[in-house]
């Protein structure tokens, strides 16, 4: 019986040590990419100042949190080794220690204050664009996005998922769209968001943007993307049957290329909303109605 107990405790400690290691490896950062990578354990690389600050703040949080978990684990291991009924047959009678209780109340408060300062800085920094150079209007629909460029010709277009059976080699399943959002690099852009049916959420992990699109409300966020490239995101609020199938793809180009694109897009999307309704078959009995 005693042996059996010992064996179990060994397992207990080994399991905890394994988890602690796993937790610590979160800190190793991933490779440069604007999309999720297989076995990725950390954030996608930041492409905006906001996401850079989120990443920095999270690195601080992670150190503190791993330290707390490891500290508690060490205490538990000491308890398992030293205070089992075999090693310590006579239990102590201590039930109070005011100094200790004050310490374990005050130290967490201090830690929280230390964390709260950068947290507040980050929060107020990410709130609104200070000097937006352009505005992008985003509308969520069941189950696609539409985008409007009010100060670049006020054209509007829909952005639908490329369904699995139309995915070409090299494309990313469930992330590619037919019409990517095109925005200029190094430009402070105000995002205005709403919805014309249920609540959706427009999110791009590499941008540090995640904002609900709420019917009857206009929400504001901002981005300033510092690296050109294509960035992917997905709807992040349960919005019905095809919630998992309304991705977001943003193509960040140079300012000159953006100017050229707006000229082209103005013509291309002039009549987009008069087009025939196309029904896209997902790999499902459910269908998405797409204009």
């Amino acid at each position: 019986m005693q042996n059996y107990r010992k064996f179990n405790l060994g397992f207990f400690t080994a399991g905890m040590a394994f988890l602690a290691t796993l937790f610590a490896t979160v800190m190793s950062s991933g490779v440069n990419a604007a999309e999720p990578k297989p076995w990725q354990m950390n954030f996608q690389p930041a492409a905006t100042p906001v996401m850079e600050k989120i990443t920095d703040f999270h690195n601080l949080l992670l150190i503190v949190e791993v330290a707390i978990v490891v500290f508690v684990l060490i205490l538990m291991l000491i308890i398992i080794v030293k205070f089992n009924s075999k090693s310590n047959p006579e239990p102590s009678k201590t039930t109070h220690n005011t100094a200790l209780e004050v310490v374990w109340t005050v130290i967490p408060i201090v830690i929280l204050i230390v964390l709260a300062v950068p947290s507040m800085k980050l929060l107020f920094f990410m709130d609104k664009a200070q000097n937006p150079e352009m505005t992008l209007k985003i509308t969520g629909h069941q189950w696609y996005w539409s985008y409007q460029y009010p100060d670049n010709g006020n054209f509007e277009f829909d952005s639908n998922i490329v369904p699995d059976d139309e995915i070409k080699p090299g494309q990313r399943r469930l992330l590619e769209v037919d019409n990517q959002v095109v925005i200029p690099v190094n430009t402070e852009i105000r995002l205005l968001m709403t919805s014309d049916d249920v609540i959706h959420n427009w999110a791009i992990p590499a941008f540090g943007v995640k904002m609900d699109t709420v019917p009857g409300r206009t929400n504001e966020s901002w981005i300033k993307v510092t690296k050109p490239g294509v960035y992917y995101g997905q709807c992040s609020e349960l919005c019905g049957i095809n919630h998992g199938f309304m991705p977001i793809a943003v193509n960040v180009v140079s300012k000159a290329d953006f100017k050229k694109w707006t000229v082209k897009a103005k013509k291309e999307f002039a009549k987009v909303n008069d087009g025939p309704v196309r029904v896209v078959k997902m790999k499902s009995s459910a269908t998405a109605e797409i204009r």
């Binding site: 999309e35 039930t95 109070h96 929280l112 019917p215």
Partner: protein, 532 residues
């Protein structure tokens, strides 16, 4: 005359009447536990089906995505309202509040019966909701407009609303019963500051229920009239606001998470003290830490809503208020560790589960700090990181407390000894399973994987596969639990009145095992324990 009174006193109905008409706190507690086990099979089956669907990228076998959303919704509702609450509050609460405060039964035994049958009826309505008109694919948060009649026509959501109304009414009645019993029917000598921490936990939980459930009931009624009678509380086209629902829901929903975990604190405190053979360290700090968690729990609800478009000052307030909760939870963790420190600990199954609880709660607790910050939450909101967080800190921790409480008290409830070796094996399988299940979800979430999707971009395949294997391991642990349960109930090995020895100092260990139909007929006297 005295003979008649005596006969009446020993009256004990048999057969189906004993259970259906029951006013006995032990029988009602047993029925709550049985209901929780039945519901747990359904709720766990839903989660295993979800994990099988997510095992690989692409659609495995759920071709109807509404059905997938219904599974997600049903898993949440069933686990919250029909597993964790009935087991920890209805089951252990009914069984052990009268036994631990030294009274023969609950204050309102017939209301106790009504509480049980309301929640049972609620479960039936919820199952009906899942089977008709495509089911409610709204998530357990039931956000309108998705939950409105426009986007969920049919009666599924209405049945779901009525199911929650019944479960809520059951909880309110149960809460009134608990509060009255604990305040008025304690044995002489058991002052508030001498109540076992489990009783403190149940009292605070009942108060939270009494304050939070009516808000849910109001919100549900508004949604019901929006859906059926033309009101527009949550519809912008009628001057309403979908965000109002989120405020009302989370004003209930955040205290609700403490309603689920504070009873677990109570169970774990009893077990840690018993197996360490020491009184709980910092008893008053522990009691008032739970009270503080309950109070602060009412003013942090909007941390579930950081992305709805609040102004920045609102998010700043809710960030700071939420971080405050880390202080009393820290007090609890350290007090448990200090109770064990210097103890002479027997690592039987209840204690293994208690230590497992502490570990899971700490891991889930620190990720809670990450999510509390509105700034960093922008990267985590609605990703699998959140799924990992709340399963660690709440769901799995609560399940561990349920397993811990079951093994701790099954001797008292049944008079039988559970098979120790098999039970420990069950713990290890479950402990490994839940960590393999939920730890990789942190990584998937950080990489950006959203919640509540039936298929995911191929890059998330690795962690999802590991997570699914964890689900299967956990499910094996769950099945093994029922084997352990069967072996216990059919065992010939009986246990003594106080099977855990000197550490078990609360009053339930002073009555025989199994606890007789009527207990504490002579009021016990309480000395200085357990406080001093």
């Amino acid at each position: 005359m005295s003979d008649t009174a005596h006969d009446h006193h020993d009256h004990r109905p048999t057969g189906w009447k004993r259970w259906v008409y029951s006013t006995n706190h032990k029988d009602i507690g047993t029925m709550y536990l049985a209901l929780a086990m039945v519901a747990a099979i359904v709720g766990a089956a839903a989660s295993v089906v979800i994990r099988m669907e997510l095992h690989q990228p692409g659609i495995q076998f759920i071709t109807d995505f509404q059905f997938y959303n219904v599974l997600v919704t049903a898993h949440g509702f069933i686990m919250v309202f029909f597993v964790v609450m009935p087991a920890l509050i209805g089951g252990f609460g009914n069984w052990f509040i009268p036994l631990m405060v030294g009274t023969p039964d609950m204050a309102f035994p017939r209301m106790n019966n009504l509480s049980f049958w309301l929640v049972a009826a609620g479960l039936v309505l919820l199952v009906i909701a899942g089977l008709i008109d495509g089911g409610p694919g709204t998530g357990w948060t039931v956000y309108p407009p998705l939950a409105n009649a426009d986007y969920h026509p049919g009666m599924a959501v209405d049945f779901g609303i009525l199911a929650l109304h019944l479960a809520g009414a059951s909880s309110i009645l149960g809460a009134i019963n608990f509060i009255t019993t604990i305040i008025n029917m304690r044995a002489p000598g058991m002052t508030f500051h001498r109540m076992p921490l489990f009783i403190w936990a149940m009292l605070l939980t009942a108060i939270l229920l009494l304050l939070a459930i009516p808000v849910l009931a109001g919100a549900l009624t508004m949604l019901l009239t929006d859906r059926n009678f033309g009101t527009a509380f949550f519809s912008p086209e009628g001057g309403g606001d979908p965000i109002l629902w989120q405020h009302l829901f989370w004003f209930f929903g955040h205290p609700e998470v403490y309603i689920m975990i504070i009873p677990a604190f109570g169970v774990i405190s009893e077990i840690v003290s018993t197996f360490s053979k020491k009184p709980i360290f910092g008893y008053l700090g522990m009691a008032y830490a739970m009270a503080a968690i309950g109070v602060v729990g009412f003013v942090v609800w909007a941390h579930h809503m950081y992305t709805v478009g609040f102004n920045v000052e609102t998010r700043a307030y809710f960030t700071l208020a939420t971080m405050v909760i880390a202080v009393p939870t820290g007090v609890k963790i350290f007090s448990w560790l200090a109770t064990m420190w210097g103890g002479s600990i027997k690592f039987d199954t209840p204690m293994l589960y208690a230590m497992g609880f502490i570990f899971l709660f700490v891991v889930g607790g620190v990720t809670g700090v990450t999510l509390a910050n509105a700034g960093s939450d922008m990267a985590f909101h609605d990703t699998y990181f959140v799924v990992a967080h709340f399963h660690y800190v709440l769901s799995i921790a609560a399940i561990f407390a349920m397993y811990a409480g079951f093994f701790y008290w099954i001797g008292k409830m049944s008079g039988k000894q559970y098979p120790e070796g098999l039970a420990r094996l069950q713990f290890w399988i479950t402990f490994v399973g839940v960590n393999v299940l939920f730890f990789p979800q942190h990584f998937a979430g950080m990489a950006g994987m959203p919640r509540r999707i039936p298929d995911y971009p191929d890059a998330y395949a690795g962690w999802n596969m590991i997570s699914s294997y964890g689900a299967y391991i956990t499910a094996i642990g769950g099945l093994l639990f029922f084997v352990v349960l069967w072996k216990t109930l059919t065992s010939k090995e009986t246990v003594a009145a106080n099977q855990w020895g000197e550490g078990a100092s609360t009053l339930e260990w002073t009555v025989a095992s199994p606890a007789p139909f009527h207990t504490h007929e002579d009021t016990p006297k309480v000395g200085s324990q357990p406080a001093e």
